[in-house]
Structure formats: structure tokens, C-alpha cells
């Protein structure tokens, strides 16, 4: 009862209120209220998450599981960042309250937290993001192998779009005069048709399906037709 029915009733009431708020101006602000409640809930859940992170990693270290060294680094990084942030280490005082050392923001420029974020986290995150360039190449290599007609068409399409995006790509079809009937075969025109016509058509079809799927799934959640995500009683 408490584990399934109550959450279901809350989800249904909030969902219906949010739908009504979309159509009724006097209760439109309720949407903001609900989002605020969610944020408050998420803050409490964050404590739960941090606790879980510590427990999991401590367990890995104590059991000497594979990769326990990474767990130790994770915990070290977590606690150093937390102490720097909560302790406001190196935070310059707020200009309005110069007499109070802790009056500045924890992320103020020059603070230890600011330094960790800008000189440790940002470069690491950028490095991870940069690996995407290599993964795009390897994925493209596999996807564009011309094994059958469909794959060959995909390869051809990708080639045209790719080449036309380069600075020298459009030069390949420069010999075709702008005014001639063959101008439709200029690489820029072909790319325009592929990107603006075929791509838009496909994307819109997917979007319509997604929108209807969202409506259907939301209704199932609101009506309690699908309760599998709530677990057992």
C-alpha cells in the first residue's frame, strides 16, 4: 500500500494538476511550485546518493575488489572537493562584509573549490568529451561499410554531406554553371536536399512518434496501468 499506492496517487494528482495548469492561467504558477518541490526532494536524495557513493567505494576498498584503487581516488576526490566547498577554503570575503572571512561564495574566483573545478574537473571532462572524435570515426567506419544496398546508400549520403561541409567540397562541382539545368547536381544543392528534405522528414516522423509515446506512457503512469517501475509491495 505505502510503497505502490501512495506514490501512484501522488504521481496521478501532480500529473493531472500539471496538465490542467497548462490550460488554466490562474493555476499556471502551480507548475513552478511542483518543480520547486521536486528540487527540494532531489536535494535530500542527493545526501542519499553521496552516502551510497561512500559506502560502495569503501566496500570495494575493504574487499580489495578489482579497481579498488580507483575507488580510493574517488573517495579522496569527493572529500577534498566537499571540504574545499563547505569549508570555503581560500574564499575571499564578500565586499559588503569584509570583516567576515566566510561571507564570500564557495565558488568565488581564487577559492580552492574554484581552482579544483577549473583546473581539475574542466580539463578532465574536456578530455572525456574529446574522445568522442575518435569514437565517431570508429563508429562511422563500421556503419558505412557497403555490405548491401541500404548500407551503400548510407555511405554515399554520408560522403556527399561530409565532402560538401569541407571548404574545398563545393569546388568539386564548380564546373556546372549556376544557370544550367544540371545545377541541381551541384554538391551544395544535393546536400541541401538531403539535409533539409530527407533528414527533416525522417526527424519529424520520429518526433511525432515520440510525442505520442510520451502521451501514452504518461497516461499509463497517471492511470496506474503500468506500475512496474514502482517495484513490489
Amino acid at each position: 500500500m505505502l510503497k505502490r499506492t501512495v506514490p501512484l496517487i501522488i504521481a496521478s494528482i501532480v500529473g493531472i494538476v500539471l496538465i490542467l495548469a497548462k490550460f488554466s492561467p490562474p493555476i499556471q504558477s502551480w507548475e513552478t511550485e511542483v518543480v520547486m518541490w521536486f528540487d527540494i526532494l532531489a536535494v535530500f536524495a542527493f545526501v542519499l546518493g553521496a552516502g551510497n557513493l561512500n559506502l560502495n567505494n569503501l566496500k570495494k576498498i575493504s574487499e580489495r575488489k578489482a579497481g579498488w584503487g580507483y575507488a580510493a581516488i574517488t573517495l579522496l576526490a569527493f572529500w577534498i572537493t566537499l571540504i574545499c566547498g563547505i569549508g570555503k577554503l581560500g574564499v575571499p570575503p564578500n565586499e559588503q562584509y569584509l570583516g567576515y572571512a566566510w561571507s564570500g561564495s564557495f565558488e568565488a574566483e581564487g577559492s580552492a573549490f574554484w581552482w579544483i573545478f577549473n583546473y581539475v574537473y574542466v580539463p578532465l571532462a574536456s578530455t572525456m568529451f574529446a574522445t568522442l572524435a575518435f569514437y565517431i570515426s570508429s563508429a562511422a567506419f563500421r556503419a558505412f561499410r557497403a555490405n548491401n544496398v541500404e548500407a551503400s546508400l548510407l555511405l554515399l549520403t554520408a560522403l556527399v554531406v561530409l565532402v560538401s561541409q569541407t571548404s574545398s567540397g563545393p569546388m568539386l562541382s564548380d564546373l556546372i554553371p549556376e544557370e544550367s539545368t544540371w545545377a541541381i547536381f551541384k554538391i551544395d544543392t544535393i546536400r541541401g536536399v538531403l539535409v533539409n528534405l530527407f533528414n527533416t522528414l525522417g526527424t519529424r516522423a520520429v518526433m511525432i512518434g515520440i510525442a505520442l509515446g510520451v502521451v501514452s506512457t504518461s497516461l499509463k503512469v497517471l492511470m496506474g496501468v503500468d506500475q512496474s517501475y514502482l517495484g513490489g509491495d
Binding site: L124, A125, V206, M207, T217
Partner: protein, 417 residues
């Protein structure tokens, strides 16, 4: 004495000419309206610009007509307008706001539901004010229903109504047929493969919080995957980016293991929180993939740039991969790198398909009605746009007539653009 008289006369003449130069023509035709489709807190004011406003059309017309003559200069051009307000119980007008020259409307907000009287004055370049317009009054009215969204509401009711209707029809015993979805059929194969290889299944329910419907849809698929891992006694690993998702995922997996009759196999430590940071999560999960080499990877939820990093890393460790997302920008990456992909609506259909429950299958049939209506509008819209290309333009160069009205209705009222 004579010279003193001359000075006095000169001062009088100068003073007279100065006063006439500073006189600013007032704005006129002030109208106050209630703003429609609001909660009764706004009024809209419109007026006709002062004759001394450089943006007044009549001045421009005069300039065009006398193109060969030098443009007439205004002695004291209007630089703005002062809007004054007086509510029911106030005796004096107070400033409600100012607008620049050339602006002939103003929106008053944060009002109460009582009568407000307004008047507008023009502000001259020298800071002087014109006489006020006539007083116009109105009372903000609260509208309980936003009439501009009635069409949207109607279609929403039709689609939602059809979903509810087919759910009820399915409950009553109506037989419904659903086509095979390869990605969902492959879930059992993937879990079976992991069991045979003695490796774990890795399930990532996206990187958004539980308030995203894709995360909910992902957790519904997780329920089925967890049931299978419980039946096959395979390992299941669920890293999450949000604490709330971790909590709900634990409930989901717990329920699945219980319903599969293997509650003893459920280990909450396998569903854990990593970090909210996107690339921190990517680093942790891909590291785990490389170290532990899961045999099957499931990506079900909302993904961004990390989609391809996950899929390619899992590919290098030889995992079978099934992805499902409603992020159109990430679908090509999953299609290129994964073995099976649930595209958009297939992802949302997963719960109905996997459960096989008639009432859930009914919701899929309801979606078809929505697709039919969308298709109908697409055809009608395309036809209207095509025919409108052959319609002659009016004298003003703009297309007019019932055809154009129909297109405007479709784009503005139905599409909301």
C-alpha cells in the same frame, strides 16, 4: 527709461516664443483593454502617438509628399510617454511606467481585480509634459480557461481519450495485435548470452532525473531485464547519475527479483549512484566496462554526447548492445554502434510489449489513432501549401482569401507557431 522699455519688450517677445517652442502635442485615443487568457492581473493600453512624435506616420507622409522640400523640424520632439494610473480608492494619479517615443502601447501587470483609470502624457525633449489624454478605465478579468489553447486541448483529449478507450476495450477482452520489435525480442537473447559467458549485464537508465518520462520508460524496461537476470541467475549492474533514479531503480529491481521468485539474489549494492556530472559518469562507467567486460549492455533513457562513448567502449569489449531513447540527435549514434535500437515510440512501447498485458497493449492502439490524426493533418497541410503556390497574390502582394486563412489556422492554432 526708453532703453529699459525696449529691454522689457524684448524679454517679453523672447519669453512668448520660448513657451510656444516647448508646447508638446498630447497623445490621443487612449484605450484600455483587459488582457485575454490571463489570470486577471494585466491590462493593455493603446493610444495614438503625439503629433510631435518623430515616429508619427502623418509626419512621415508629409515628408514623402514634400520630398523636394527640406524636412520639417519639430521644435520640441517627443522622447517618450508617461503612463499614469489611479485605482478605485486613490484620489491622485501615480506613475505606472514610461515608454520610448514611437511606442503606442503599454502592458500593466501585477494588478488586482479592481477598476484602474489610466491617462497618458507625452514627454518633450526638454523634459516638459503635454496635457494628458482623456481618462480610460478597465478592470482586469480572470479567465479560468486559456482559450488560445482550446484547439490543442481538443486534440489532446481526442488522443488521450482514444488511449483510455483502447485500454478499457483491451481490459474487456478485445484482442489486439502488436508487430514484433526486434530490439525487445533481443533482450532475452542478450541476458541469456551474459549468463552463458558468466558476465554481468550493464543497464544505464539515461542521465536524466526521474522527472523525465524517458527515465521512467527506461526503468520499466529495467523491470523486465531484472526479471530475466533473476530467472537466469545473471549479474545485473545499474549505475545511475541521479540519487532519485537510484532509489526508484532499486525498488524496480527488488520488485522484479521478487516477482521472478528469486528475492535472495537481489543485491541493492548493484544499483548505485556515481555522480551527477555527465563526463564524470562517463569516465566511471566506461572504466567499469573496460575492467569488468559486461556481456550485455542496455542503454534505456535520455542520453546526450555520452551515447557514442558508451556504445563504442562496449563494442570494443565485445558486448551485445540494446539501446532505446527518444533523443533524435543521439539515435544515429546508437544505430551506428549498437546491435539493436528502439527508436522513439518503440522505446515507449517497450513496457506494453514486454508485459503483454492487454490493457497496456491497448495504449499502443490508442497511439495509432494519434498517428492517424497527425498523418491526416500532414496530408491536408501539404495539399493546402501546394495549392496556395498557384493562387494569385492580392494587390498588396500578400496572399489572402479562405485558403490562406486555412493555412494560418493550421500553422497558428494547430501547430502553435
Amino acid at each position: 527709461m526708453r532703453s529699459f522699455t525696449i529691454i522689457i519688450c524684448l524679454l517679453l517677445v523672447a519669453g512668448t516664443s520660448d513657451v510656444s517652442a516647448q508646447e508638446v502635442a498630447p497623445p490621443s485615443n487612449l484605450n484600455v483593454f483587459d488582457v485575454e487568457n490571463d489570470k486577471g492581473e494585466e491590462l493593455r493600453l493603446t493610444w495614438t502617438l503625439s503629433a510631435d512624435d518623430p515616429n508619427t506616420e502623418t509626419k512621415e507622409d508629409v515628408k514623402e509628399e514634400s520630398a523636394n522640400e527640406p524636412p520639417a523640424t519639430l521644435n520640441n520632439p517627443v522622447v517618450g510617454y508617461l503612463i499614469e494610473v489611479k485605482s478605485g480608492n486613490q484620489k491622485e494619479f501615480a506613475e505606472a511606467g514610461k515608454v520610448d517615443a514611437g511606442v503606442s502601447e503599454f502592458k500593466a501587470d501585477d494588478l488586482e481585480r479592481q477598476e484602474y483609470s489610466y491617462r497618458v502624457k507625452a514627454i518633450g525633449a526638454d523634459g516638459s509634459f503635454s496635457t494628458a489624454t482623456g481618462i480610460s478605465a478597465a478592470t482586469p478579468v480572470r479567465q479560468w480557461v486559456d482559450r488560445s489553447k482550446i484547439y490543442f486541448g481538443f486534440f489532446m483529449l481526442v488522443v488521450c481519450g482514444s488511449v483510455v478507450y483502447f485500454i478499457e476495450a483491451a481490459k474487456a477482452g478485445k484482442q489486439l495485435k502488436v508487430r514484433k520489435i526486434a530490439g525487445l525480442e533481443a533482450i532475452e537473447e542478450a541476458v541469456g548470452r551474459a549468463t552463458e559467458m558468466g558476465r554481468d549485464c550493464l543497464f544505464i537508465p539515461g542521465i536524466q532525473d526521474i522527472n523525465d518520462i524517458q527515465t521512467v520508460a527506461g526503468l520499466i524496461v529495467l523491470n523486465r531485464v531484472a526479471e530475466l537476470t533473476a530467472e537466469y541467475d545473471a549479474g545485473l549492474d545499474v549505475p545511475t547519475t541521479r540519487s532519485l533514479v537510484m532509489t526508484v531503480a532499486r525498488e524496480t529491481v527488488d520488485g522484479a527479483y521478487t516477482s521472478a521468485g528469486r528475492p535472495d539474489l537481489y543485491n541493492p549494492d548493484n544499483i548505485y549512484y556515481v555522480t551527477d556530472e555527465q563526463f564524470g559518469f562517463v569516465a566511471a562507467v566506461t572504466g567499469k566496462m573496460v575492467r569488468e567486460k559486461p556481456a550485455a549492455c542496455f542503454y534505456m533513457g535520455a542520453f546526450y554526447a555520452e551515447s557514442l562513448i558508451f556504445a563504442e567502449t562496449a563494442n570494443t569489449v565485445g558486448a551485445i548492445q540494446i539501446a532505446g531513447t527518444a533523443m533524435p540527435s543521439q539515435l544515429p549514434f546508437f544505430v551506428a554502434a549498437c546491435d539493436y535500437v528502439l527508436i522513439g515510440e518503440e522505446f515507449f512501447a517497450a513496457s506494453a510489449y514486454l508485459s503483454g498485458e492487454p490493457q497496456q497493449l491497448g495504449s499502443l492502439k490508442g497511439q495509432d489513432v494519434g498517428k492517424f490524426i497527425a498523418g491526416l493533418f500532414l496530408i491536408v497541410g501539404a495539399l493546402l501549401m501546394t495549392v496556395s503556390q498557384f493562387v494569385h497574390r492580392g494587390a498588396s502582394g500578400e496572399k489572402t482569401g479562405p485558403l490562406q486563412d486555412a493555412i494560418s489556422f493550421m500553422t497558428e492554432s494547430l501547430l502553435g507557431t
